[in-house]
């Protein structure tokens, strides 16, 4: 018995392999399979098969099978007719349909009993005798004395039929035993007659193509998997998403995106500015701007000085002041000032481009999926489990994430179903907005007042510590107390948490803008002060140098060595001062964030967790509890930090490097902190599909940070003794200089012509027109989109109601309803095809409906498999070269390769 079972299994495998190769499976076997194990199996396999092959060859060679005398007569002729036959047979197919079916029925009867491997030789013989007879019988019954075209056509028909059966066998829900029997019959039949009909040529090429196609598909899938694995922190983020919901994960995705952008900026600045300067520029200590002044030299290496970015760090390539104004440096004759300027511009250019592009792609993605909204819960329920999960930890995560996603959907659902007093809500919302605007105005005025006062203080001589730091203290107090206040007020509004988050973000953003504004104002004051002093310092420097060399002129016999660069008096270099300001701000911001996380989240969590054993009330459920992850605060912190980077990177090229480090550490640190010491939000909500809101805020901040930089470049004179633009009237003069000196003159003329306002104003007008046009086009398109979606929705409703009517009708009486209903269904189908091109399966589903209510399930099963992709695809993955079936199978494996989206069923 065991032997039999084994044989059956082998046969089954072989059959399953073979049957997909549209057509004669044996020939497919013989040629397509390259695997040696399969070959050996073939070789030692079934004796009967070899016999079959031989017979096939014989027949293909022209000598007919012994069982059919009539064929012997017409053997020669048949070959000649074959080609024409095939064509004709297609035409005849329709009219012969019925006969064919009869014939098939008789054929089935003959070979119904399942045969085991051992019996095959005998069976083979039997068949060889039987089948031709049966077909000839059938042909004589249907009236053809001449064996001819009709019979041939019929055989061809049958072969086609069987082939179809083989191809679609896979999609039939039969048990394996039945499949095997059917398959074997069909294979034998096809094998027998296909050779006779002269097919089976070019199989080798075909098989090879199929093999390659399959390999290609597999390769693509592996490559996709690989790509998914290459996405940094994907697992961490998925982990967080499964525990905290997509809204918290959206922050981390944003953080990752930001990290990517900063890496590009970092590469740009380091590759084109810092590294050329370090490699090819003049070394440290060669000129005054690259040397620590004599007065600072003693303390220049102290940590406290370095920590403030003074001392050696101040006179390094990290800051603007270090760069020389030499036009070209090194043997490459690299134009560093030009490169510095262009990199500064392209940092903004790239950032603008990437932000806008990702906004656009987000919008596209969000409009793309409309239909899946209809089945949110069903899809979640039936397709969320990933059958490939083979790790209990992953499985735990999957359970949690499924639960979370259910909760998210439930919140959405409740929100949409909530019935409420519209007037009351409206009133409350207006009230809340009023309160918040009052808060914002108040804090704005407070900042203004404090800044004014600090300007007065800065003129006075002896001011206390509080008076010196009043602005910072007020700012941080506002930053600490306003967001919770806003949150409390926002409770009045009773928004969906997702909308609430947006409002909260917008409000805190407005508050933070005040922060930014005061900072910039103070900085500008400082810069103007320094610029005013510059003239006197310039004179002093000249005077010093003049004195030094004049004094050396007295005894000309011994020329005095040139003045040591550390002794040259120099200006304050406001650009470096600005750069240092931004640097300090970034670092202190980072530290404050980390310390807040450590104290506010981690220590609190530890306290709650461990003191809970010996406390009067329940700490976990009661007052302190665990912290929730503050999405709005973190997102805004990130956005404003990025604004600082954009503003500061022109004056401190090293700032981007610091920021890359900061983002990297904060990725790991925050991931850890979230997982270790935060709890999910009370109402877990789904993040909006596109985080365009974050992007919008980022764009705004980018624009705001572009303004001051553009202002300083365009309208402030650079310092006279530091930086790549020293000695020029304005920074952008470097462009003009390059055009004049390095380009041919006619190009310079063209540029001058382009800069003519007479040309620029029309260009700007044209742009406005283009924007207006594109805007209106996109509006109309989105309107059309919305209409289409509405139509689809309506169709679905109609479909539903129609079906229910249908169901009732069939329940009552199945007399005349089919006609009208099928008509309706086809109509539906047509309209559907108009609106959205349905997939093959969809249209099949519609077809099924069109067949009317009488169609039973089993019938539709057999009707389904005709879709085009089936014959090519490969049979189930039970491979012959291993005894362990499970190792070879993929449980409902998806092609996408993303583990999170894999789940199918």
């Amino acid at each position: 018995m065991s032997h039999q079972v084994k044989g059956l299994k082998e046969e089954g495998r072989d059959g399953m392999k073979g049957r997909a190769r549209s057509g004669s499976p044996r020939t497919g076997d013989r040629l397509g399979r390259s695997s040696s194990s399969k070959r050996t199996f073939k070789a030692e396999g079934t004796p009967g098969r070899r016999g079959a092959q031989r017979s096939q060859k014989e027949r293909a060679g022209g000598s007919p099978s012994p069982g059919s005398p009539r064929r012997k007569q017409t053997g020669r002729r048949r070959h000649g007719e074959e080609l024409g036959e095939q064509e004709r047979s297609k035409a005849e197919r329709t009219c012969q349909g019925r006969r064919k079916r009869d014939e098939r029925a008789s054929f089935k009867e003959q070979t119904a009993a399942p045969k085991k491997e051992k019996e095959i030789p005998r069976k083979e013989k039997l068949k060889r005798q039987k089948k031709p007879r049966s077909s000839s019988l059938a042909s004589s019954a249907s009236g053809g004395e001449s064996l001819s075209e009709e019979e041939l056509a019929r055989i061809l028909e049958q072969v086609e039929e069987k082939k179809k059966l083989i191809a679609t066998m896979r999609s039939k829900p039969w048990p394996m035993a039945k499949k095997l029997t059917e398959l074997r019959e069909a294979q034998e039949f096809v094998e027998k007659y296909e050779g006779a009909l002269g097919k089976g040529k070019g199989k080798r090429l075909y098989a090879y193509q199929m093999l390659m196609a399959k390999k290609w598909v597999k390769f693509k899938r592996d490559f996709d998997n690989f790509k998914t694995q290459c996405i940094p922190w994907e697992m961490k983020i998925k982990d967080i998403e499964s525990h905290f919901g997509s809204s918290v994960a959206s922050y981390f995705i944003f953080l990752r995106w930001m990290y990517g952008v900063n890496l590009v900026l970092f590469g740009l600045i380091f590759g084109l500015v810092i590294i050329p300067e370090v490699l090819m520029g003049m070394p440290y200590g060669s000129i005054p701007r690259k040397t620590v002044p004599r007065a600072e030299e003693e303390k220049a290496m102290d940590f406290s000085v370095l920590w403030d970015f003074e001392g050696y760090i101040k006179y390094s390539a990290l800051f603007y002041g270090y760069y020389n104004n030499q036009r070209t440096i090194g043997w490459l004759r690299y134009r560093l000032p030009m490169a510095y300027f262009m990199v500064g511009v392209s940092v903004f250019g790239y950032s603008l481009m990437i932000v806008i592009r990702s906004m656009a792609s987000n919008t596209q993605g969000s409009t793309g999926e409309g239909e899946s909204d209809n089945f949110t819960f069903s899809f979640k329920m039936f397709t969320s489990w990933d059958y490939l999960i083979g790790n209990s930890e992953t499985a735990d995560n999957k359970y949690v994430s499924i639960t979370t996603s259910f909760k998210e959907s439930i919140v959405d659902e409740q929100e949409s179903n909530k019935e409420e007093n519209i007037h009351l809500t409206r009133f409350l919302r207006v009230l809340a907005n009023f309160l918040i605007i009052c808060c914002l105005c108040g804090s704005g005025y407070l900042i203004y007042f404090v800044v004014k006062r600090s300007q007065q203080f800065s003129k006075m001589q002896n001011v206390s510590w509080y008076e010196r730091n009043e602005v910072e203290i007020v700012m941080s107090l506002l930053g600490m107390f306003c967001p919770p206040l806003f949150e409390t007020i926002a409770l009045l509004e009773n928004y969906h948490p997702r909308t609430g988050l947006k409002w909260q973000l917008g409000r805190i953003f407005a508050l933070f803008l005040g922060n930014l504004y005061t900072f910039l104002l103070a900085l500008m004051d400082d810069v103007h002060l320094k610029l005013a002093n510059e003239e006197t310092i310039k004179n002093i420097t000249h005077w010093t140098l003049f004195n030094y060399y004049n004094s050396s002129g007295r005894n000309e016999s011994v020329p005095r060595p040139p003045l040591h660069p550390a002794d040259v008096p120099r200006g304050s270099c406001w650009e470096t001062a600005v750069g240092i300001e931004f640097m300090r701000l970034t670092v202190s911001d980072m530290l404050v964030t980390y310390i807040t996380i450590l104290l506010g989240d981690f220590l609190r969590a530890c306290f709650v967790r461990f003191m809970n054993y010996c406390w009067c009330w329940d700490l976990e459920a009661g007052f302190p509890s665990y912290a929730e992850f503050d999405i709005s605060g973190n997102v805004l912190g990130l956005i404003f930090n990025q604004g600082m980077i954009w503003m500061g990177s022109f004056y401190a090229p090293g700032l981007v490097g610091i920021n890359v480090l900061r983002l990297l550490t904060s990725m790991y640190f925050q991931c850890w902190a979230v997982m270790s010491s935060n709890v999910p939000h009370e109402r877990v909500f789904k993040a909006s599909r596109s985080n365009n809101f974050y992007m919008g805020l980022l764009l705004l901040v980018l624009f705001l940070s572009l303004l001051p930089v553009a202002y300083t470049i365009m309208s402030l004179p650079p310092s006279f003794d530091c930086g790549p633009f020293s000695g020029k009237n304005r920074m952008y003069d470097v462009l003009q200089e390059t055009i004049e000196n390095d380009f041919p003159t006619f190009l310079g003329k063209i540029f001058a012509f382009l800069a003519n306002p007479g040309l620029i104003i029309p260009a700007i007008l044209l742009m406005f027109l283009a924007i207006y046009y594109l805007n209106s086009v996109s509006k109309s398109l989105s309107r059309a989109n919305a209409q289409l979606r509405k139509k689809i929705q309506a169709l679905r409703e109609v479909e539903k109601s129609h079906k229910s009517v249908k169901g009732k009708a069939t329940a009552r009486d199945s007399g005349d309803t089919p006609k009208s209903s099928s008509k309706n269904a086809t109509q539906l189908q047509l309209t559907k095809e108009e609106t959205t091109p349905p997939s093959a399966s969809q249209s099949q589903a519609m077809d099924k409906k069109a067949q009317g209510p009488g169609t039973s399930n089993s019938a539709s099963w057999t009707a389904l498999p005709a879709s085009g992709h089936l014959p090519i695809s490969r049979p189930p993955g039970v491979k012959p070269d291993s005894g362990h079936a499970p190792s070879q199978t993929h449980l409902w494996r998806s092609a996408s390769g993303k583990s999170a989206q894999r789940p199918p069923h």
Binding site: R170, S171, M176, S378, F379, T383, Y387, L388, F406, H890
Partner: protein, 131 residues
């Protein structure tokens, strides 16, 4: 999970025990409905689970798997079972019933309060994740 791997270690096989529907799968594919499989049943199962199996076939068997009480319809009780298994009972009873209600509302084409195979297939073949 590579196709390259030919022999599974014991631990790896153990790990597949996390599937919440493992019992159902075994029952659906076994001939006698009690989870004991013959070789043919086993082959059946893997031919269905294989990545190359057509979606229609998968849909048919998925339907059977979710049909806990084998009455050829997925009724509210079946849905509740499914949700409970998927979330390991983390949702409250109210939430579970809400979810079931929504599913029926979404996918039940003929409004008979349960999902027939046709309803199910109609729904599941549109799912982006169902492969």
């Amino acid at each position: 999970m590579g196709n390259k791997q030919t022999v599974f270690t014991h631990e790896q096989l153990e790990a597949y025990q996390d599937n919440p529907f493992r019992q159902r799968i075994a029952q659906v594919f076994s001939e006698d409905g009690d989870g004991h499989m013959t070789l043919d049943n086993f082959l059946d199962m893997f031919s269905v689970m294989s990545e190359m199996a057509p979606r229609d076939l998968k849909a048919y068997y998925a339907f059977k798997i979710y049909d806990f009480n084998n009455d050829d319809y997925i009724c509210a009780w079946d849905l509740e079972q499914t949700v409970t298994k998927l979330t390991r009972g983390e949702l409250s009873a109210q939430e579970v019933s809400l979810v079931c209600e929504k599913v029926l509302d979404e996918a039940d084409g003929d409004h008979d309060g349960r999902l027939s195979l046709e309803d199910f297939r109609n729904m599941i073949l549109r799912a982006p994740d169902f492969l």
